[in-house]
Symmetry: C2
Amino acid sequence: MAGEFDLIDRYFSPLAGPEGLGLLDDAACFHPPKGQDVIISKDVLVAGTHFFPNDDPHAIAQKALCVNLSDIAAKGAEPAFYFLGLALPSDIQETWFKSFSKGLEETQKRHHLTLAGGDTTSTRGPSIVSVTLIGTVSAGKMIRRRGAQLGDDVYVTGTLGDAALGLRTITESHMGYDFLKQRYYVPQPRLSVGIGLKNLATASADISDGLLADLGHICKASGVSAHVEQCLLPISEQAQQYLSIHPEISPDIWSGGDDYELVFTSPVKNQQKIKVLGDKCCVEITRIGSIKEGAGISLIDTSGKLVQARHRGYQHFR
Amino acid sequence: MAGEFDLIDRYFSPLAGPEGLGLLDDAACFHPPKGQDVIISKDVLVAGTHFFPNDDPHAIAQKALCVNLSDIAAKGAEPAFYFLGLALPSDIQETWFKSFSKGLEETQKRHHLTLAGGDTTSTRGPSIVSVTLIGTVSAGKMIRRRGAQLGDDVYVTGTLGDAALGLRTITESHMGYDFLKQRYYVPQPRLSVGIGLKNLATASADISDGLLADLGHICKASGVSAHVEQCLLPISEQAQQYLSIHPEISPDIWSGGDDYELVFTSPVKNQQKIKVLGDKCCVEITRIGSIKEGAGISLIDTSGKLVQARHRGYQHFR
């Protein structure tokens, strides 16, 4: 097995962009483009919590980048470069690095970003992958969570609950459901939609903790409440199929994590523009409710009955 | 025990600066000052490798920030804000957060930086603290590792080997030696020296892997070699005292990690200016050798005999 420095030379240096200075320094140098704000997100993924220890390293790499790309997308920003922190078992094989770096490379190419630095260390515990992602957005144009206005429509991209159901098909060894499984393994950051939203959305977040939890963050930050209509929630064909056999887990649609879709608010007058944006980006965008006075989230069925109030989503340490 | 969101509200939100947007978004927004480059460093600290699992959380927090501040110092930059990634055992006590955040707060105040975001998660393994630190430097003024020139003097700040010896006094339960222990627990990032060096040094790195390893990185990046004179290496009183009892471990002075002093090169003509800088910053700066043709590092004793050739320092996965 090669040592730390050789592994970096072999697998990570080829991924470095100009800010990374060939990974020869302990720091990166970035000359920010004029008129742009710098947007930064950081996520920590732990084996056994955010991915399975034996997952394909290629998919782990993609997921680690995509969950951060999703944060950047939610803010209306464009990704630029990233830092990679790794803590891995000391007996890890070189094939792991080979596959992991391939996953990074593919995701970099797809989303036009490069590696700028990081730190690789060993641990006696589960593997941990920590990515810090840097993007840019026109000065003052970042979409905040704070900003939802009374009467705004609430929208989501894509379909909801696929990743949570995908995770169930994996843990319960249900065959098939490849679409749901793929939705769990590799999130699709909605970058093109996010960039288009920076002149349309009043508030935005990505759905990592479940729709109600993340829309809850928007409402809390904006000092408003939201009514969400259950019948409007976009559900994929495979999710519908799975729920027809396991109807008891339908709350996964609005409370399941790991979707990495966007939830955002926009004034009613923008409805046509939102539709055009979705068509242009080939991403389904669905209006699911509206912003009201007060606090909290209400999920309402077709008869107007409350299905569920706001759920705070998964919390560590509780 | 409070959940993740309450812990963040209680202990981390008060540490947030303007870029952190009250920790209400999943990303930070930074408007870079005109004419400045953005310098970014990232380190991952693992319990059992970089600190002891039962260390005072206050000291762990200080160390996690200071090792990154040291990277920023080596580049001639000024710190601005940071991101905190935590993976902690799920049964961790709230008192841990209280003490840890106090350590962050004190270090923030001392070095004029604020928290801008991060991610807190649970792990079944050892605790991991990952900091990404962002600083700024006048455009084009970052001090690289690449840049050492033939004939340059080689300097170090402070004294060498204290942290490695401090670690030995801890693991071998030697009483006393509080100065050495403190040098292990809480590095002193040489920020004021670094800022002064940006017009004086041709290359610079911080000593995290040991003098010979980190000077070796400078030489490799610069395509030169270095001669270091053993008799010139600055050694603290307590280190001398410890080595007089345990002379066999004197290689800790040039190969021991965790010093977080700076090693840098500068043309001979700058000797007086370097002296003035050290006096102004109240930091000992010592000339320890010079840059030569060729490759590698030679540590030479008073009779000109080779004591040790370059040591690559600690490597994970080997």
